[in-house]
Structures are given as structure tokens and as C-alpha cells.
Chain length 429, copies 2
């Protein structure tokens, strides 16, 4: 019954919603893709970014059953029962109480007409929904675990998110001439070294970093805290439009959603998670860029800070990062690029058995060159029987984020595939 | 026979050589003190700073037998035999070959007339010889082990070396206006917090730090790379004279000795060793202050660096220290003072059992509150039989530097005393 409501909604939106081509390509029928896309978009529409209960239940059941349950008026207990049936004894499953609280958050926003207008608005600005199954999906955001976005709205080239390693260049809106000089040099220097420059599209340091990347002929990606239909800040409408021409303007918020303080903070977590390293170029003690830096540190991503005169309050935040958060002192683009190089080396040492690294970012398996988590997840998968994330977490002993990261990698290389509401092993081609 | 030559030399110099009052005070006769002082001054005169062979043999036998042996034309084998007799099987004893090479370095400089002129020159400028037994001796230099100075020539107040904790403020001669501003603020701020400002008396950052300390009514100590009879650089003659009025101008070189590159580097080790922490205020990539920073790091002393604009080559050395040497980013005097506070806390956590800290620097024993090395050394001492450093090293399993440091502390608190050529335990008063 509730599945019928979702199917009807999907049928209504089939022409309006545009999804990026999923990476599995092949056999999946277009109608099923649309239903999955609409379900995911709907869940994004009714929730705030980083909703961990939603992330957990969608991670277990997929978006469709959750959206259908929401549309069909299911209770938290019913959803919890379904999760339990799907993954008996799943340690990470949200409780009935958590799901009831979640539904109480999501249901008040369940306005199908408004959602339909939001999707139509996305179509109008040519924004497309990037789903986790897509080849352009930035797998690194899986490190956010249950707080990872379910999907991203993208204006521009989705491939900009993954085709080259990204470095986040962030800083204060209240930039000085010194900070702008640093941003111009850093951004152009990273473009020269083949990096994508990731930032938040704000005035000051962010905008200067984006502009310099464009001027250097590079790719740059802006993450927004509101819907991508309305560029924010308004004064950066032209700049963000130019970014979308060659790079991408991205948000997990639906079109029509206004930026809020919470959404800025959650946007910052995405900037940190989607980048290989984060560098704070100039920041006062209260700059929001310190929040991005905190996310990068919490995610174990390399964190750099550019020092400035100790007499300049505009650099006090950078100095605090150097002093208290063990940020690396970086003074030019070469040192910023080294942040990523060191991290890649560290990764290879810690989790790789035998690998041929073919590009700056994702190592492809060579011979048996899977990471230790990838091997454990692959071993736990079967060819015929689906395994859910919860089952894989239990059988491998890995954290959900690690399982999802490994599945993403195995999916990308064709060794595993989504099947129904779980995952199966695929024979090598 | 050789002892007679030393005694005769001591008699000649008895009026000229001025020593700082030894801390043991009491019974030792003045003539013996003069002989020890003359022997030590002579060995300093013939050697270069940091001569490890000299440091080792004097650590074992004391200055007198070594000076007498040098004056009496003894061979390396004879000195080695004497050391072996004194400390059979001593692991740290220099070999006959090392001692022969040492004598071959020292003997060509053995010019009694020139040495006598040097001592007379010291008397003329009212420089006094500070010996390790003196209360004002900076015990912390014992961390230099065999490379610690045997004695220091001081103009001004010897007590300035120890009466308050010292922080070394160093930097490039080629200072910018920014660096000078930083030095003025840092030095005055540290004086306000009760620190002695230690530096190298050079143009640029060093001189500015000294000047600001004087202007703030504080105590400052300058370590020179040549004799204290001739202030270097010449342009700082007035400044160094003012420093000596309330603080101290110090060198391990004899009067008449000119600064050389080697002596500058060795002077830097003393600045680092005699200070509780070292802060580089502004330094280019080739500044000698980076050498001082390296010594501080090697000695385990806290190291701070003040950042500056990345566009300023004058700050590039500081940024390198932050990036590669794990220096702490410090932006004001309060943070520089914290360097010492943290170090003191770390010391207490690691090596103290139970202690009441009565001042910023040396913790005095409270109840049984000795450090672990102090307790081990005290346990290894006897009331009647002298123990040499070598014996103590073997019986405690501690490094020579640690044994000397512990003996210094035990001596300062009256629990141990030098006796003949070794140390004895003293009953509590």
C-alpha cells in the first residue's frame, strides 16, 4: 500500500527528477532507478543533514522501504520490526524509540506537493541527484558513517567530485589582503599540481580560492548549506554559476531549502569528508572554517594551517590550529600537496597488503591487492544470498562506516553489487 | 712534581683570579679553592668548548689532576692509567688513545704566560670564574653530559643565571620590523611573568630581546662566543655593559679568546641548555638561531617558534621549526611561559614520586620527594667512601649526565657533597 504511494509519486516525478548515471549501468530498469531516486530525494527533503537515525535505517533497508513506510504512516515499532527481521540482532540497528522520534521529525515535513515543487525546481536549474551507486559518488564521505549524506544535489559536472583528488581550502569571510594573497597562490598552485579545489563558496577566503582555481584553468567544487537552486551568498551568484560550468556546486539540501546555522556546520563536515586534506588559509578565532578543520581532524584527514603575523587577529584561528590541534604548518601549495602524499603513504602502510596505486586517490586492486577491510567484506559476501550492512558488520567485526567504504570500493571494481536490500559477491568478469 | 707546577701557577694567580663563592662554603681552605679554580681555568684556556674527552676525564678525576698532568707532560696512557686506577672498568672512561689525542690538542696551547695574561685581563674587567660547585652554577647544563662546560666566566651577577627560570629568546640578526615588534612584546611579557631573558647578544632579535628586558626592569643574560673581556659585536658594547649591570654576560671562553664559527655553535648549545625553554622569534632559513633550536630539541627542552607571514623569508626558519621539528606555535609571552609550565608538569609526572614545588624551577625535596634518579644516586652514595661519577653510573644504571644532574640537586639540598675526587652522602642537618 505504502509502496504504491511511492510508486505513484515516482511516476509523477519521472520526467522531472534527473539522476546521474549509476555506476552499475547494465540491467536495472529505469523505473526502479527513479523509484530509488525519488525515495532518496524524499528522505533528504524531510530530514536535516546528518540525521544518524535515518542514515542507519536507510543503511540497513535502503531508501525505498523507509520512504514507503514514511508515506504509508508506519510507526517506529513497525520500522524497527522490519529492520530486525532483515537483520536479526543487528547491533547497529536504530531502536523503535529512535525511529519513532525520527518519524516525528520527518513526518511534519512530509508535504508531497511541496516536495514535487522542489524537484521541479531542481529540474528547472538542471540540478541532478547524485546517488551513492553512481560512479561519481565521493566514496570518502562514507567515513561519516550513519551521518553520511544519502544523496547530493549537483549543478555542473558530478565527475568533478571524484575525477581528481580534492583539497579543501577554507578560511574566514573577513579575509585580509594577506589572506587573499595566500588563497590565490595556494589555489593556483594546487590546480597546477592536478588537485581539485574544494571550498564553501563564501565571501573572503572561500571565494578567492574558487576564483583563483578558475583563473588557473582548474576544477573547483563548492558545497552549499542550502539548496543549489538559489546560490548563496547572493553576491556570489555569478561566481557559483561559473564554478558549475566546469566544476560543481553541490548540496545535500533539497532545492528551496534555506541555509541555517546547523546546515552550515553540516556542510562543513561534507567539505572535510569529501576532500583528501583540509587547509585553513586565514581564520580568526571565531571563523566557521575552524569547524571544518575540526571535522577534518575528527575524520583523520590531514589538516594544514597557514600561519600569519601574530599581530593579525585574522590569523589567530590558524595559530590555534597549529598550537592545539596539531595542524601541520603549511606555507605554500607544495606543502599542501604533501599533506595528501603523506596521508596516502600512511594509508598504504597501514591497510594495504599489496597494491599498485594507479592514481592520486583510490587504489585499484592489483592481483590480490585489496585492503584488509575490503578482503574481509568480500569474504563475508555470498554470490546468491544478500548480506545487509548489519550482517557484514557482525561477520567482519568492522565498523559500519568501514563496511560501507569497503563495499563502495568493491562495487566500483565490480567485485560486489547491491542486490535487493543487501549486497552480493560478483564473479570477476 | 706536576702538582708543584700547578701550585706555583695558582700562587702566582691567587690575587688575579676571582671565583664566585662556592656553595659548600664552610671548611675548604682558600688555597685549595684557588688551585681548583686555576686548574679549571687552565683547562678551559687550552681546550675548545664542548671537548668531550676533557669533560669525561675531568668528570672522573677532577680538574686538578688533569691540569697537573698536562703541565707535567704526562702521556695519554698515564692519564688513562690514573683514570682506570680511580674507577676500574669505568665504561665511560676515555681511552689512552682519546686522551693522547686530547693532550695533542691541548698542549700546543699551553702557554703559561699567555694564560696568566688572560687571567689578568679577566681581573681587569672584573670577570669572575663560576665553578660547578658554586650555588649560582646552572645545574641544567649538566644535561650536556661530557660536553658541559667546566666553568663559566661571568661579568655581572652570577646569580642571574639561576635565581629565576630563564627562557631563551633568539632569532636572526636580519630582523624585520615585525620580528623586532615580536621580540619587544615577548621579552617584556616574560619579564612581567618573572622570567630571566636569555639570549646571544647579537644584532637583530637577540639585541632587541635583551633591550626590551632591560627596559621592562627585568634580568637578562647574554652568552658570548668569545671572551667576556671584549664585548661582541662591537656595536653592542654599551648594551652588553648595561646587561652586566643587573644581569650577566657569560662565556666559557677565556678572556682574549675571539669568537669563531665553532664557538658560536657551542655558545648556542649553552643558551639552550641553560634555559628552561627556547623560543625562536623570527628566523630565516639559514639563521644561526635554528642551531640553538636544534640544541634545545636535542636536550628535550621545550621549543617554541613564533609564526609570521608566509610571504616573509625572515619567518621561513620559524615555519620550518613548526613543520619539521615539532616546535610549539607560540604567539605571545603567555604562551611562551606555558612552554615551561608544561615542561615542569611533564617532569613531575615522569620522574617525581611526591614533591612540593616551591618555585618555578628546582623542586626541593619534601619528605621523601626525591626524583627517581636522585634517589638512585643517593642510595649509591656512602657517608665515608667517595664514589666517582663513573662508579655511580655503573651502580645506578643512569647516564653520566643524569648522575651529574642528580648530584647537583643532592648537593644543592645538602644530601651529598664532593669529597676528594668523588662524592659522599651527607647526613641530613
Amino acid at each position: 500500500m505504502s509502496g504504491d504511494i511511492l510508486a505513484a509519486l515516482a511516476a509523477d516525478l519521472a520526467d522531472a527528477i534527473a539522476v546521474v548515471r549509476p555506476r552499475s549501468g547494465g540491467a536495472a530498469s529505469a523505473s526502479i532507478d527513479v523509484e530509488e531516486a525519488v525515495a532518496t530525494a524524499l528522505l533528504g527533503y524531510v530530514s536535516e543533514p546528518g540525521d544518524g537515525v535515518l542514515g542507519k535505517i536507510v543503511g540497513m533497508l535502503g531508501a525505498r522501504p523507509v520512504a514507503a513506510g514514511l508515506l504509508g504512516g508506519r510507526s517506529g515499532a513497525e520500522l524497527a520490526e522490519r529492520a530486525a527481521a532483515h537483520d536479526p540482532g543487528g547491533l547497529d540497528a536504530p531502536s523503535a524509540r529512535e525511529l519513532a522520534a525520527g518519524l516525528a521529525r520527518w513526518r511534519p515535513r512530509l508535504d508531497e506537493a511541496a516536495f514535487t515543487r522542489s524537484v521541479a525546481q531542481a529540474a528547472r536549474v538542471r540540478a541532478r541527484l547524485l546517488l551513492t551507486a553512481d560512479a561519481a559518488w565521493p566514496d570518502a564521505v562514507a567515513d561519516l558513517g550513519a551521518h553520511a549524506p544519502l544523496a547530493l544535489w549537483v549543478r555542473g559536472r558530478s565527475a568533478a567530485l571524484t575525477e581528481a583528488p580534492g583539497i579543501a581550502l577554507v578560511g574566514a569571510r573577513a579575509a585580509t589582503g594577506y589572506g587573499e594573497h595566500v588563497a590565490i597562490e595556494a589555489s593556483a598552485g594546487l590546480v597546477d599540481r592536478g588537485f581539485t579545489v574544494v571550498s564553501g563558496g563564501a565571501y573572503g577566503i572561500d571565494g578567492t580560492a574558487h576564483r583563483s582555481a578558475l583563473a588557473a584553468g582548474g576544477t573547483t567544487v563548492a558545497f552549499l548549506a542550502g539548496g543549489v537552486d538559489r546560490f548563496y551568498p547572493a553576491g556570489h551568484e555569478t561566481l557559483l554559476g561559473r564554478i558549475a560550468e566546469t566544476g560543481a556546486v553541490v548540496s545535500e539540501l533539497s532545492c528551496g531549502a534555506a541555509p541555517t546555522r546547523w546546515r552550515f556546520l553540516q556542510r562543513n563536515r561534507l567539505i572535510a569528508a569529501a576532500s583528501r586534506a583540509t587547509v585553513v588559509l586565514e581564520a580568526g578565532m571565531r571563523s566557521g572554517s575552524l569547524n571544518t578543520a575540526g571535522h577534518a581532524a575528527a575524520l583523520g584527514r590531514p589538516l594544514g594551517a597557514v600561519p600569519g603575523p601574530v599581530t593579525s587577529p585574522a590569523s589567530a584561528g590558524c595559530h590555534r590550529l597549529l598550537r592545539e590541534f596539531d595542524a601541520v604548518c603549511v606555507t605554500d601549495a607544495a606543502q599542501m600537496a604533501e599533506l595528501v602524499g603523506d596521508a596516502a603513504v600512511g594509508l598504504a602502510d597501514e591497510s594495504r597488503d599489496d597494491v599498485v596505486r594507479v592514481d592520486g586517490r583510490a587504489p585499484l586492486p592489483a592481483l590480490d591487492g585489496l585492503t584488509s577491510p575490503e578482503r574481509r567484506v568480500l569474504d563475508a559476501l555470498a554470490a546468491r544470498r544478500e548480506r545487509t550492512i548489519g550482517e557484514l558488520v557482525r561477520s567482519t567485526g568492522l565498523a559500519p562506516g568501514a563496511v560501507m567504504g569497503a563495499l563502495g570500493a568493491l562495487d566500483a571494481t565490480g567485485l560486489a553489487a547491491r542486490s535487493g536490500e543487501g549486497w552480493v559477491r560478483r564473479p570477476p568478469d
